[in-house]
């Protein structure tokens, strides 16, 4: 059997024959290019099967997907608080990633108590020397404030509309975990500049941990890297703030919203 392609599979000729617009040509060319390499057609078919079999429908509209009734419109702004938390989270993530280029999590450089450390100096450099740095830090901090506020108000909205009742108990508990992680996000970020209040906020954290019987010392070591504050504390807060929490919180938010998608929004009646 010849390996040469038969004419009916000559996609280029087919493209020419079709007399398409530029957009259509570009789209089809890309599709064909990708399909030759990755066989997307098969996956598209899988998706299609999913779509019909499992009755996973693309929403015709948000209101329809969540089965929102028209009599309900005046509550609607409160229902955007969850999304506003996500938006603020994204703003904080982008600005935080940019800040990360300049920040250094190090207490090096302080010869005497009260001397600036490398961490503090790097924030000072961001504020004073970097183009747009002052604004960047300001955006990052304000996005964090907005996120916490939105999450708190979102929780109040869920509470006062009774949206946590069966079958949404699990999502409420997931929400409680999310708000705690959000606060931890804020707290660990607060410590990073290693300014006076950062230090003393961390100090109070250590004292709280140490006042707890049984697990306290272990928790202090885990979170603060010891019983006295120093380089280890800063690095732990840093890893928590820029590595662990971003992954965990992003995954949990996806799960949280996924559950809302599956269960539908709780409409008061």
């Amino acid at each position: 059997m010849s390996l040469e392609k038969k004419d009916e599979f000559d996609h280029d000729a087919w493209l020419k024959r079709k007399d398409l617009t530029a957009v259509e040509t570009a789209f089809l060319t890309t599709l064909i290019w990708m399909d030759k390499r990755l066989r997307i057609v098969d996956y598209l078919e899988l998706l299609e099967t999913l779509y019909y079999r499992i009755n996973l429908q693309m929403p015709k509209s948000h209101t329809e997907q969540y089965d929102l009734d028209n009599k309900f419109w005046y509550w609607y702004p409160l229902y955007s608080l969850g999304s506003l938390s996500i938006i603020a989270y994204l703003v904080a993530a982008v600005s935080g990633a940019l800040l990360g280029f300049y920040y250094s999590p190090s207490t090096a450089g302080a010869a005497a108590a009260g001397d600036p450390t490398a961490a503090w100096l790097s924030i000072e450099m961001i504020i004073k020397d970097i183009q747009f740095g002052f604004m960047l830090r300001s955006i990052h901090r304000w996005a964090a404030q907005f996120m916490v506020a939105a999450v708190f108000l979102h929780m109040l909205r869920v509470y006062f509309t009774g949206a946590y009742k069966e079958p949404r108990e699990g999502n409420w508990i997931l929400g409680v975990i999310l708000i705690l992680l959000t606060l931890l996000f804020g707290y660990s970020g607060y410590v990073l500049p290693w300014k006076q209040l950062s230090f003393w906020a961390a100090q109070i954290g250590v004292e709280m941990a140490l006042a707890t019987p049984i697990v306290g010392e272990w928790a202090a070591q885990l979170l603060f890297g010891g019983f006295t504050l120093g380089q280890a504390t800063l690095v732990r807060m840093y890893i928590m703030h820029v590595f662990l929490l971003p992954f965990v919180v992003t995954a949990l938010i996806a799960l949280h919203v996924g559950i809302v998608w599956v269960q539908g929004i709780a409409e008061p009646h």
């Binding site: 929403p59 015709k60 509209s61 948000h62 209101t63 329809e64 089965d67 929102l68 955007s80 999304s83 938006i87 703003v91 302080a110 108590a113 009260g114 600036p116 450390t117 503090w120 924030i123 000072e124 604004m135 300001s138 955006i139 901090r141 304000w142 996005a143 404030q145 907005f146 916490v148 506020a149 708190f152 109040l156 509470y159 006062f160 509309t161 009774g162 946590y164 009742k165 069966e166 108990e169 409420w172 409680v176 606060l183 804020g186 707290y187 607060y190 290693w194 300014k195 006076q196 209040l197 003393w200 906020a201 100090q203 109070i204 004292e207 709280m208 006042a211 707890t212 709780a266 009646h269």
Partner: protein, 273 residues
Amino acid sequence: MTDQHTSTDPTGTDEQEPLTDGGTDGEARTDGGPPATIPPDDETPTWSERKERSQGLSRLTYEYFERARREDQDLRQESTYVERDVLGFPAWPHETIRNLAITSFFVGIIILVSATIPMYFENPANASSTPSIILPDWYLYWSFGLLKLNPINPGLAVLDGNLVFSHEFFGILGHGLIIGVIALVPFLNKGNARRPVEQPFWSAVGVMGALLSVTLAALAIQNFFPFELELLFTLVFILPFLGGVVTYAVLKTMREGYMYDLNKRYYRLRPPQ
């Protein structure tokens, strides 16, 4: 092998059919006799036969799924719900544009606020000088306030008036209590009520909680208040309680008139059978 093949050959002829690759069947069969693992068609159990034969947990799972499916079907058949063609605005363009507007508005506000109220940066950490006022960000004030509950930390007479918990641990227990109660809410408040008017008690509890988070925050920044700590401390608990009582009273009063309206509309939409 060839013998076996010809003996089952339905046509009963010895002549071997040419195959598409030009050879004959006899030559092509190189990997041993007919497959032994696939039972003949009439012995293959159907899906439900297989499920019915299953044992233990998978059997229970199957039985429950069957029940659930039947329940679903019954409910669907009994339902008088009429599927409407259009329930809301279309995703494109209405909702997409609305969402883009909300998003850009919100991001715009964040940027505007960041530009106009920049964050203030302080001196480097100094482990040897405790600042007179230690504060976290505002959203942790409530937590910080909980650490200042020393005056109500119980001392037990049995222990000669000694504290049961250290002051710090008492505050930490406060955190645990608050978080625990919040997490338990769905299991304490059950039922179908959704709107605040339908559940005055739980709305009052909610108002109390929200106010408590504010008064505890006030306790955390007590140094900024002109009045005495004693008074502030009393207010921390009295104010939320008062707020709760007022909420309860207002909602109870609203309830009659409101429920009447609500029910009128509800029954117009879904008339009682």
